[in-house]
C-alpha cells in the first residue's frame, strides 16, 4: 500500500505554495535545513549555533560523543523541545506547517512498553494526521499499517501486546509507525540501541529502501563502524557542529578525532573512505 515516493509525490507534499515566497536556491533541494540552532536548559548551551543541511534523498548519520546534543538537536529542530534561537525549515516550510512531511522515531527507552496496546495500534498512531480525532480507521488505514508491519517483518505480531515484544521487535514497530506516516523525511533517534543483529539488518535495509525512493533519512547513530557503508552523509556534532558533508570527504579520522577528542581509540573495524591518517 505504501507507494514509492515519486518525484510528483514529493512535489505534491513538499512544494505546495510556500509561505513567504522564495527561500533561495537551497530551499528546493534541501529537505531539512537548520540555521544557527541553539538549545539551552538554562545553563551552558547543549547545542550551540548549529547550521546543517540535509539534502533531499540523502541518508545522514548524526554522530558525536554522549552528551554532544545529537538527540537534542533533532528534537529542537522538530519542535519537540524548545530552542533558544535558530530557524528550521522542512522542504522550505517552517516546522509547524510541515508536520505532515516528517516522521520522528524517538528512542525506544523513552516510552513505557507496558502500555496497554497492541503492535498494530502503535503503527496506526502513524496515521493520526490523516484520521484526526474522529475519522474512522477503515480498511485502507489498516492495510497501510499491515503493509508497514510486513516491511519490517512483523506481520505475525500485529495483535501482540507491545510489552511482550523483544527490544528489537519494539524498535521495528516504531519504524513501522514511521513508515505508516508515509512522509518524505524520516528522523530516527538511535534506532540501533540495544537491538539484535537481525533487526539491525532489517532496519538498515528498510532505511536504504526509503532512501532509494527519494526520501530523506536522518539517523542519530553510535556505531562508527557502520557509518561508511550504510550512510552517504554525516553530521559530526559536539555541542557545535564539527563537520558535515558526504562520507567520502567528511568522515575522516581527523574529523572523528575532533568530534570525540584526540585520543579516542579509533577502531580498526572502521573502513575509512579516504586514505588519510
Amino acid at each position: 500500500m505504501l507507494k514509492t515516493l515519486s518525484p510528483e509525490r514529493v512535489a505534491q507534499v513538499a512544494c505546495a505554495p510556500l509561505k513567504g515566497g522564495d527561500l533561495g536556491p537551497e530551499a528546493t533541494d534541501a529537505a531539512l535545513t537548520i540555521r544557527a540552532l541553539t538549545v539551552s536548559y538554562g545553563e551552558a548551551p547543549v547545542v550551540f549555533s548549529v547550521d546543517a543541511t540535509f539534502p533531499a534523498g540523502s541518508m545522514t548519520a548524526v554522530i558525536g560523543p554522549n552528551g554532544a546534543g545529537k538527540s537534542t538537536l533533532l528534537k529542537a529542530a522538530l519542535g519537540i523541545v524548545p530552542k533558544l534561537s535558530g530557524t528550521v525549515t522542512i522542504h522550505g516550510r517552517p516546522v509547524e506547517e510541515a508536520r505532515a512531511l516528517v516522521a520522528y522515531v524517538p528512542q525506544r527507552a523513552s516510552v513505557d512498553w507496558d502500555f496497554p496496546t497492541r503492535a498494530i495500534d502503535v503503527v496506526l498512531m502513524g496515521r493520526y494526521r490523516t484520521t484526526g480525532l474522529f475519522r474512522k480507521i477503515g480498511k485502507s488505514e489498516r492495510a497501510i499499517a499491515l503493509d508497514a508491519l510486513a516491511r519490517v517483518g512483523m506481520s505475525a505480531f500485529a495483535d501482540r501486546q507491545i510489552g511482550q515484544l523483544s527490544g528489537g521487535q519494539q524498535q521495528r514497530i516504531f519504524l513501522a509507525r514511521a513508515l505508516a506516516q508515509d512522509t518524505p523525511v524520516l528522523v530516527l533517534d538511535e534506532p540501533f540501541a540495544g537491538v539484535d543483529a537481525a533487526t539491525e539488518c532489517t532496519i538498515f535495509d528498510v532505511l536504504a529502501g526509503l532512501s532509494a525512493e527519494g526520501r530523506t533519512v536522518v539517523v542519530v547513530h553510535h556505531d562508527l563502524a557502520t557509518v561508511p557503508e550504510r550512510f552517504d552523509r554525516v553530521l559530526m556534532l559536539n555541542v557545535r557542529k564539527i563537520a558535515e558533508g558526504p562520507i567520502s570527504e567528511t568522515f575522516t579520522p581527523a574529523n572523528v578525532r575532533a568530534t570525540y577528542g584526540g585520543k579516542i581509540g579509533l577502531s580498526d573495524a572502521i573502513d575509512w573512505p579516504t586514505r588519510a591518517a
Binding site: 520522528y104 523513552s110 507496558d114 502500555f115 493520526y128 480525532l133 510489552g163
Partner: protein, 303 residues
C-alpha cells in the same frame, strides 16, 4: 424496594455512581502517565479552595465554591510543576510538599474563620455526606416522571450528572491524541499534538471531576476512584479501550455495592446504625483491586 427506596436511596446511589465514574475516567490516563497521585494531591486541595472561596464571597453558594476548588486544583498543579522544574525536586516529593502545605493552610483558615452556622467542616470534607442526599419529594417510582417531584431532587445530582457527561464526552473526543500522547509524548509532539496543553487539560478535567464528586461524596471516594478502578482494570486487559471500560464497571460496582453495604449491611448484622457510605465505597473498590491483583488475567508484566 418501593417508595422508601426511591426517597432515601435512589439519589445517593445515582450520585455515587456518577461521581465514581467521573473520577475513574481521567484516572485511567493519570495512572498510565505515572501521575496517579495527582488525584491524591487534587483531592487534598479541594477543601482549601472551598474555604478561600467562602472567605472571599462570604457565602456558601455552589458556584463560587466550585470555582474556588477548581482554582485550588490548578494552583496545586502549577505549584507542583514549579517545584519540580525550578527546584529540581522529584515529582513525588514535589506533590508531597504541595498538598500537605495547601491542606494545612486550608485547615488553618477554616479554624480561623467563623464558619459556625455554615456547612463547612473538615469531617464533611473528608467523608462527604452521601446519605443525606435524600429526595424528599419522591413518593415512589412514579415520581421519576412527575415534574414537580423532579424539581425536588438534590441539587448535587444534576451537577455531578453534567460533569459526568462532560468528562465522558471529553474522553471520547480526545481519545486518540490522549492515547498517543500518554504512550509516546515525543512522537505525539512531532505529529502536532499539543502535548503540554493536553496534559494540563487532563489535570483540569480530573480537578473538575474531583470538585463535583467532592461536593457530593467527600474526598476519600475521589482518591479511591481516581486510582483503584483504573488500577484493577489494568490488571484485566491489555487494551486501553477495554481498560477504560472495565474501570467504569468497577467504579459503578464499587459505588453500588459500597452504598448498599454501608446502608443495609449493619442492618443485616442486626445493628441499627449505618456506617459511612463514602468509606465503604472506597473499601469495596479496594476489595475489587485485591481480587484482580490475585486473579486478574493480565496482572503480571510479561517479559
Amino acid at each position: 424496594m418501593g417508595a422508601e427506596f426511591v426517597q432515601l436511596s435512589l439519589a445517593p446511589l445515582v450520585i455515587g455512581t456518577l461521581a465514581a465514574v467521573a473520577c475513574a475516567l481521567p484516572g485511567n490516563f493519570l495512572l498510565l502517565r505515572r501521575q496517579a497521585l495527582i488525584g491524591d494531591a487534587i483531592s487534598h486541595v479541594v477543601m482549601p479552595g472551598i474555604v478561600v472561596a467562602f472567605l472571599i464571597t462570604g457565602t456558601v453558594s455552589t458556584g463560587p465554591m466550585m470555582l474556588g476548588a477548581a482554582g485550588a486544583a490548578v494552583f496545586a498543579v502549577a505549584m507542583i510543576e514549579a517545584i519540580k522544574r525550578f527546584g529540581r525536586i522529584e515529582p513525588g516529593a514535589a506533590m508531597g510538599v504541595t498538598f500537605t502545605t495547601l491542606f494545612a493552610a486550608g485547615i488553618l483558615m477554616l479554624e480561623q474563620t467563623d464558619t459556625s452556622g455554615v456547612h463547612l467542616d473538615v469531617e464533611h470534607a473528608l467523608y462527604g455526606n452521601l446519605e443525606s442526599l435524600i429526595w424528599f419529594d419522591a413518593t415512589g417510582w412514579a415520581s421519576l416522571i412527575d415534574p414537580v417531584a423532579l424539581t425536588g431532587l438534590p441539587a448535587e445530582l444534576p451537577r455531578i450528572g453534567i460533569v459526568a457527561i462532560l468528562v465522558c464526552a471529553l474522553t471520547v473526543v480526545f481519545w486518540r491524541p490522549l492515547k498517543i500522547a500518554t504512550f509516546d509524548e515525543g512522537f505525539a509532539a512531532s505529529v502536532g499534538v499539543p502535548v503540554a496543553t493536553l496534559g494540563f487539560g487532563l489535570v483540569i478535567v480530573a480537578a473538575m471531576a474531583a470538585v463535583a464528586a467532592f461536593d457530593a461524596v467527600g474526598s476519600i471516594i475521589v482518591i479511591a476512584m481516581f486510582i483503584c478502578p483504573p488500577a484493577a482494570a489494568r490488571l484485566m486487559t491489555n487494551r486501553l479501550g477495554n481498560q477504560v471500560g472495565w474501570s467504569v464497571v468497577f467504579a459503578a460496582l464499587s459505588a453500588v455495592i459500597g452504598y448498599v453495604a454501608a446502608g443495609y449491611g449493619p442492618l443485616w448484622l442486626g445493628v441499627t446504625d449505618s456506617v459511612s457510605a463514602a468509606g465503604m465505597i472506597a473499601t469495596v473498590s479496594g476489595l475489587i483491586l485485591a481480587i484482580t491483583a490475585l486473579a486478574g488475567p493480565h496482572r503480571q508484566r510479561v517479559a
